[in-house]
């Protein structure tokens, strides 16, 4: 049995406007993620991929279907048990700064999951573990007393990752964790995620719309379109031999009209690439 078993999950959001159609974000989605495996969900905006990521952590309640993590059915867990279970399943969001409380020091932010789930460790031990995790994700110990606003985007995302892994979760949802970062930083953060997975055998559910990123990081790819998974295949196979017409469209978009290539092309005249390349991560 897989570590994460998502079966027939349905989620419909009420219409935004009165009289509008309800949004069927997930129409019977099934997906498995194994220990140590990275499964990417790709699809365009509105395909339901972020909704699936949130449902997998029960950040939203689903209408029907089953989600089992390490054997526990999380769709029916009651509040207290669910909170305890959250030590095993964590998330890294797309917006590094917005996902950190602007008034808490970096060290306090990273310490929080331990304070919640392992209060018996005591202040000294938690401190020690925070510094260890900071070291692991490449944050200098001196930044423990800094505020999030004083860090660069790449460093903020490292804080987000440190907070996500400190409770030693077995399952991590990565909701476009690198899409707001510069290219050079993006590569560093992806390498860090791969390294962490190697060490701890975490299962990753990687939500993304960037084909290059998923090609590099994932073992398998699930393609979502209008609330359904239209194709699931190992990464290599999907790129070499896409089965579904929509997958081919996504792939052709990547080859001929990649938005970043277009951006880079324009940038020769407008000079934004120069800035993008030279804005390095301070760490």
């Amino acid at each position: 049995m897989s570590l994460v078993e998502i079966t027939d999950v349905v989620k419909t959001f009420a219409a935004r406007q009165r009289g509008g159609d309800p949004v069927r974000a997930l129409r019977g989605v099934s997906l498995q993620v194994n220990e140590g495996e990275t499964v990417a969900i790709i699809g365009e905006s509105g395909s339901g991929k972020s909704t699936l990521g949130k449902a997998a952590l029960r950040l939203i309640d689903v209408d029907s279907g089953s989600i089992r993590i390490d054997g526990d059915e999380i769709t029916t867990l009651e509040t207290r048990a669910l909170r305890a279970k959250r030590a095993d399943m964590q998330v890294v969001f797309q917006e590094p700064f917005e996902s950190l409380n602007p008034r808490l020091a970096i060290g306090a932010i990273i310490a929080e999951p331990l304070q919640i789930h392992r209060p018996e460790l005591g202040t000294t031990e938690i401190r020690k573990q925070v510094l260890q995790v900071m070291d692991k994700v490449g944050l200098p110990a001196a930044q423990a007393s800094r505020l999030p606003g004083e860090l660069s985007g790449g460093q903020q995302q490292r804080v987000g990752i440190a907070r996500a892994i400190i409770s030693r979760p077995r399952f991590l949802v990565l909701d476009e964790p690198t899409s707001s970062l510069d290219l050079s930083i993006r590569a560093q953060v992806l390498a860090l995620l791969a390294e962490l997975q190697e060490e701890s055998r975490m299962a990753y559910l990687f939500v993304s719309h960037d084909m290059h990123t998923v090609e590099w990081i994932s073992d398998r790819i699930a393609v979502m379109y209008l609330g359904e998974i239209v194709e699931t295949a190992p990464t290599r196979q999907l790129f070499d031999n896409p089965g579904h017409a929509y997958t081919r469209t996504l792939l052709s978009a990547r080859l001929s009209a990649d938005p970043r290539e277009r951006h880079a092309y324009k940038a020769f005249a407008g000079d934004t690439t120069v800035r993008q390349v030279s804005t390095g991560d301070a760490s």
Binding site: N101, P102, L104, T123, R127, S145
Partner: protein, 282 residues
Amino acid sequence: MPDVFAAPKGRQFRLLVKEHPGATMGVSFIALLLLASLVAPLPYDPTATDGSSSLLAPGAQHWFGTDGAGADVFSRVIAAARIDLSLALAGTLLSLGLGLPLGLMASGKGKGSEWLVRALDAFQAFPLLILALALVSLSGNKLYMVVVAIALINVPRYIRLMRSEILSLRESRFIEAAIAMGASTSRVTFKHLLPNVWGIVLVQTSLTIANAIVVIASLSFLGVGVSAPTPSWGGMIRDGAGNMASGEWWIAGFAGLAVLLCVLAFNQLADAIGDRTARTYR
């Protein structure tokens, strides 16, 4: 459990002094005024009248002149700070004490909080100064009713402020992150929501004090609340209003100036606090 890591705090005050000379001057002025009214010896007894020296112009003997009854205006302006400022502070504290918990309650997502806001709309549509006036005079000029009146005017403002701030904060990513890490409702509220509204609450508090000073002055100008012979700025403005026409501007003038400076001081402070919270955390 205390935080294992704390962000440094000490430099905030020094920065405030450096970047906001207006606020610094304002705070110093208020502090000086309070100190003078509470402990410093006044040149004259503020309530002593002397018919032989009525309506003297400002000079070496009486710095701010004397009023119609011959009392020293300088001593009265300073002495009035005692009652006017302490009533303003008490009113503000009561507004905070009621407004914050109610505001927190009104920030829920349920239907109940929406109804509460509707009720507030209706309540605030009523001219609150008139209500305050009625309350204080009906109670037989009890001073504590002045405090209640200030709270009546300001509590709805706190509720509204808290609600709008918290509702937008609730949607923010770091709250979602806190829930995702397994934080309890009270942890989310006290560690993540409330610390992020303190800045704006402090700004509002500064403005509340300024507003309270004006309300108190208005009430005593109309003859309710603080009554003679206790000196109050509003009362002095009323007493001096008649003399303005005949050229004795100093009675109402100096009392008015005191109100103006106090309000200005608290507005400056609000500005400075607002600037600091905006810059450090965004």
